[in-house]
Every structure is written in structure tokens, then in C-alpha cells.
């Protein structure tokens, strides 16, 4: 397990998520209940669980992307570096989203050039000097293992890249923002095995610098990449701990059933 020196980056306290039903009268749908979880800095947390267990809701609660859904409601609190995500009336949501960068399941690039995709976030922050952006773009692309493939065509539209390259561009985009936290929601579910391997390699290289949360429906990937693993089922955190332990000697029978493929 983590050495006691790695600091807690994100802490969920009694956190819950529900979505109000469209139909009047019917009860809200509970997506997460009473989640208590600590995520450590400079480590990778794998989050696994069957479909609709609340994994995406968990990630989207951290950067408050869920606020975009009118039906979203939360209970409890999340702390990032000790500061409440929801509680503080003066929480700057855009600032929060910069701190916790997100990579989606589908590799969605902005309809801009490769360069501008990465420069987008920094520009919004006011970091817009040419030399600084050039350096940011280059570093981000190198860290995402994409530099060699695109360095000669930074000005061409990102839409022309392959799916795997686009997803690495999405990672580079987050790196360019210098977010301390990188959240990935099934980042390889739409990719071929070679691209998947490249992304996993990227993530492993990143963990020394960032706090990474990887949601994945691929149990083997969770085992390969994660330092810690959390298993969710129907909105509840069933088991959490050292990845090696979870995969060799799970405490809960449901965890064992899931990782051995007996359901999910």
C-alpha cells in the first residue's frame, strides 16, 4: 500500500449523488451513496465496477461537470487539498476544473488545430505568450508520447488524427493545464490494443507527478496500472485497497466475483 508520506489529494466524505427524475412524483435515482474514500497524490487509483455502478458520476462530481445536468443533486462533501468542492460559496468552478482535468471515454478533440487544442486551456487562464505556449504544447505532447508523431503538423486540424492519437491529445490537453489531478473515464474503451498499451504506458509515466484516477471497465487494465483499486457496485464503494491485495485476496465476495468475471 501507499507509504504513509504520500499526502491525501482528494477526500470523499459521506458523499452521495442522485438524479432527480424527469417524471413528477417518482423518486430520484441514487447513483452514489455514502462514499468515503481517500485518493493519494502521485499514485494511480483504478476505479472498477459494472455498468451503472456510479463510476462516471464519481469523476464528474470532482470537477463539478455534473452541475451541467439540472437533475443532479449531491450530499456530503469532497475535499481537494483540504478545500471543499461544494461547500464554499466562493468556489470558482472554472478554477476547480483546471485543477482536476478530465479525459472522456470518447476521444473528443476540439475543432481546432493540434496546437490550439492544447493551448485552449492555458489561453483561458491568461497564459497566452507565444513562447510560453510553445513550450507548454511541446512538453505536454512529449509527456503524452505524441510529440514524435505530430511535431511536424501542429497547425493541422486535430480531427485528422487517429482515435488513439486523439485520446493521447486529450491527455496532453489536460497536462497542458498543469492540473494536479488527472481523471480518465474509460479512456481506452474505444481504442485498439496498440493504442491502449500506449495510453497505459503514458499513465504509468505520469504518476510520479500527478494524482491519477482511472475509471475502467477492463479489470486487467485496473490491475496493470493502478496502485490502489476501488470497486463500486450499485453506487456503493464495496472494497478499496492496495491493487495487488484486491486482486489476490479480496475481502468481499462480490469483489471476487467481479474480478474473476462471474458478473458485470
Amino acid at each position: 500500500m501507499k507509504d504513509d508520506l504520500s499526502p491525501v489529494k482528494i477526500e470523499f466524505v459521506n458523499f452521495g449523488v442522485s438524479y432527480r427524475s424527469e417524471k413528477a412524483g417518482s423518486p430520484p435515482l441514487s447513483a452514489l451513496e455514502n462514499v468515503a474514500l481517500k485518493v493519494y497524490d502521485k499514485r494511480i487509483l483504478s476505479v472498477i465496477g459494472p455498468s451503472r455502478s456510479g463510476k462516471t458520476s464519481l469523476l464528474r462530481s470532482i470537477n463539478r461537470l455534473n452541475d451541467l445536468h439540472a437533475s443532479f443533486e449531491h450530499s456530503g462533501e469532497i475535499f481537494i487539498d483540504g478545500a471543499p468542492v461544494y461547500g464554499g460559496a466562493d468556489t470558482d468552478v472554472t478554477e476547480l476544473r483546471r485543477k482536476a482535468g478530465m479525459v472522456f471515454a470518447r476521444p473528443v478533440v476540439l475543432p481546432l488545430s493540434i496546437y490550439e487544442n492544447i493551448a485552449y486551456g492555458p489561453r483561458l487562464m491568461g497564459r497566452s505568450s507565444k513562447s510560453e505556449l510553445d513550450a507548454t504544447v511541446e512538453t505536454a505532447l512529449k509527456d503524452a508520447y505524441l510529440w514524435e508523431e505530430v511535431k511536424d503538423r501542429l497547425g493541422s486540424p486535430a480531427a485528422a488524427l487517429s482515435g488513439g492519437q486523439r485520446q493521447r491529445l486529450c491527455i496532453a490537453r489536460v497536462l497542458g493545464m498543469r492540473s494536479g489531478i488527472i481523471m480518465l473515464d474509460e479512456p481506452t474503451s474505444a481504442l485498439d490494443p496498440v493504442s491502449t498499451a500506449k495510453i497505459e504506458e503514458t499513465l504509468t509515466a505520469l504518476k510520479n507527478k500527478y494524482c491519477v484516477i482511472l475509471v475502467t471497465n477492463n479489470v486487467k487494465q485496473a490491475a496493470r496500472v493502478g496502485d490502489e483499486t476501488a470497486f463500486f457496485l450499485m453506487g456503493k464503494l464495496i472494497e478499496y485497497g492496495d491493487t495487488a491485495k484486491i486482486f489476490t485476496t479480496p475481502r468481499d465476495e462480490r469483489t471476487e466475483n467481479y474480478i474473476t468475471g462471474r458478473f458485470g
Binding site: L68, P157, A159
Partner: protein, 277 residues
């Protein structure tokens, strides 16, 4: 009748209707060119009409047309696109959006002569602007607004939601997301609506006569009355002043509209291919 004959008949009926549409356009162009070509000389373009349009050219009418079209487009586009942005990005589907949309659709169905009457009462009389190109342009703004709102709304809605999420997740505000990501993607669709509007204000007669009047002189400013090409054509054709000049005017009008369409489509294609690589 078996499925194959049915298919054959369907294809031919469909082909015929598509063919018909292009034939009508071609017929109009050929007929108007044939009738109007003879009078279409450089002096017809660059001289002002004399003797009620029996002699001279249509320079003042071209100027009035440009004033009216440009002015109404300049006013209607930001209003229409702004409304569309508000309806799609800033309010969820609610009673308010439904009412605004329904109202705007009803507006689209109001006959132009009613707009003319309304513009006359509001701008010409009540606001004391008198018959002038500004009154006409403001009236045309109301007329083309529903089209611009509707087409802009569809264009904005067609931008994938995921792009907005990606933008928000990078710390963009709603306004930044709209201006930097959504609108640039929606531009081709929005332009289509704007061009429809331009075409409408160029070819409108009834509402324009009521509000901009039909003065023959070259307007010095938008606060003066002016006679657009469509109005000029209508008047000299209806009153039998000169059929040759009327057709030559119609030809200029058609060339105008075709040119605008060709240029915007060319620009749009360049814009799209530049973004797509």
C-alpha cells in the same frame, strides 16, 4: 404490383420532382435573360432612372437595395443569433423557450403586407422616421428574424454536446464555450439562415413600399426614402411603364441573388474544408 415495379415508379417520381425544381429555376433564368438582356447595358446600371423609369437606368435602385439588404442583415443577424444562443445554451427546455419558439414560428407565417402595415404604423408614423430605408430595414429585420433564429438554433443544436463538455472541463465559462467552440462550428448553418434573410429583403416588395417608400432619387442616407430593385420592377411592370426595362431590372435582381449565393457557398466550403483538413 410487386416491390420492384413499386421501387422503379418511386424513383422516377422522385427524380421527376427533383428535375422539376431545377427546370423551373432554369426556365426563369433563361426567360428573364432573353427578355431583359437587350436593355442590360453599362449605362442601364450606372444611370439613374428618368421619366418614371421609362428612360435611363437603375443605379439609384441598386444603391437602395444594397442599403436595405445590408442594414437589415446587420441588425437581424446579431439579434437572431443572440436569441438562438439564449434559447439553446442559456435556458433549458422550458415554457419560456417553447413560447418564444412558437411566437417566432407564428411570426414566420405572417403575410409580408401585415409586416408592412406594422412597420408603417410603428416606424413611419409613431417613431416619426417617415418613409425611409431605415424604416424599411427595421421592418425587414422583423420579417427575417424568425428564419435566422430557427436556422441558427438548429445549427447550434447540431454541435455535439461532447464538445461543450470538453470545453467546460478545460475551465471555460459558458460564454467562452459558446464563442470559441460552439459558434465557429455553427457558422455554416447560421450563414444559410442569414442568406435566406438577405434574399428575402432583396426581393420583398409590399412591406418595403409601405415603409421605405418608392422615391426614385439616389438615397443620400438611410434616413431618406428609396426604391429597391424589386419595388422598381413591380411598379414599372404593373403600370406598364416599360416592359424591357422591367425585365432588365429583374435580370439584375436575379444576378444579384445568384451572386450572393454562389459567393457565400464558396466561402462556406472553404471555411469547412479548412477546419476539417
Amino acid at each position: 404490383m410487386n416491390a420492384r415495379t413499386e421501387e422503379k415508379i418511386a424513383v422516377n417520381v422522385l427524380r421527376f420532382s427533383a428535375f422539376l425544381a431545377i427546370m423551373i429555376l432554369l426556365f426563369i433564368i433563361v426567360y428573364v435573360s432573353y427578355k431583359g438582356m437587350g436593355s442590360l447595358t453599362p449605362s442601364f446600371i450606372f444611370e439613374n432612372p428618368r421619366d418614371m423609369g421609362r428612360e435611363g437606368g437603375i443605379f439609384s435602385a441598386i444603391v437602395s437595395t444594397l442599403y436595405l439588404a445590408v442594414l437589415s442583415t446587420l441588425i437581424a443577424t446579431p439579434l437572431g443569433v443572440g436569441t438562438a444562443i439564449y434559447l439553446t445554451e442559456y435556458t433549458g427546455e422550458s415554457a419560456v423557450t417553447k413560447i418564444v419558439r412558437f411566437g417566432s414560428d407564428c411570426l414566420a407565417g405572417v403575410p409580408s403586407i401585415i409586416f408592412g402595415l406594422f412597420g408603417f404604423v410603428l416606424f413611419v408614423i409613431y417613431l416619426k422616421l417617415g418613409w425611409c430605408l431605415l424604416s424599411g430595414a427595421l421592418t425587414m429585420t422583423f420579417m427575417v428574424l424568425p428564419t435566422i433564429i430557427r436556422t441558427s438554433e438548429e445549427a447550434i443544436k447540431a454541435v455535439p454536446y461532447e464538445l461543450r463538455e470538453a470545453s467546460y472541463s478545460l475551465g471555460a465559462t459558458r460564454w467562452q464555450t459558446v464563442t470559441k467552440i460552439v459558434l465557429p462550428e455553427a457558422v455554416p448553418g447560421i450563414i444559410t439562415g442569414v442568406i435566406l434573410g438577405v434574399g428575402r429583403s432583396i426581393s420583398e416588395t409590399a412591406a418595403v413600399i409601405f415603409t421605405a417608400g418608392s422615391a426614385l432619387a439616389t438615397p443620400g442616407s438611410v434616413l431618406e426614402s428609396g426604391r429597391t430593385l424589386a419595388v422598381h420592377f413591380y411598379i414599372i411592370a404593373r403600370e406598364g411603364i416599360s416592359m424591357e426595362k422591367a425585365f432588365a431590372t429583374a435580370l439584375v435582381l436575379i444576378i444579384f441573388i445568384l451572386t450572393i449565393n454562389v459567393i457565400t457557398y464558396a466561402l462556406m466550403n472553404r471555411y469547412i474544408s479548412k477546419k476539417k483538413a
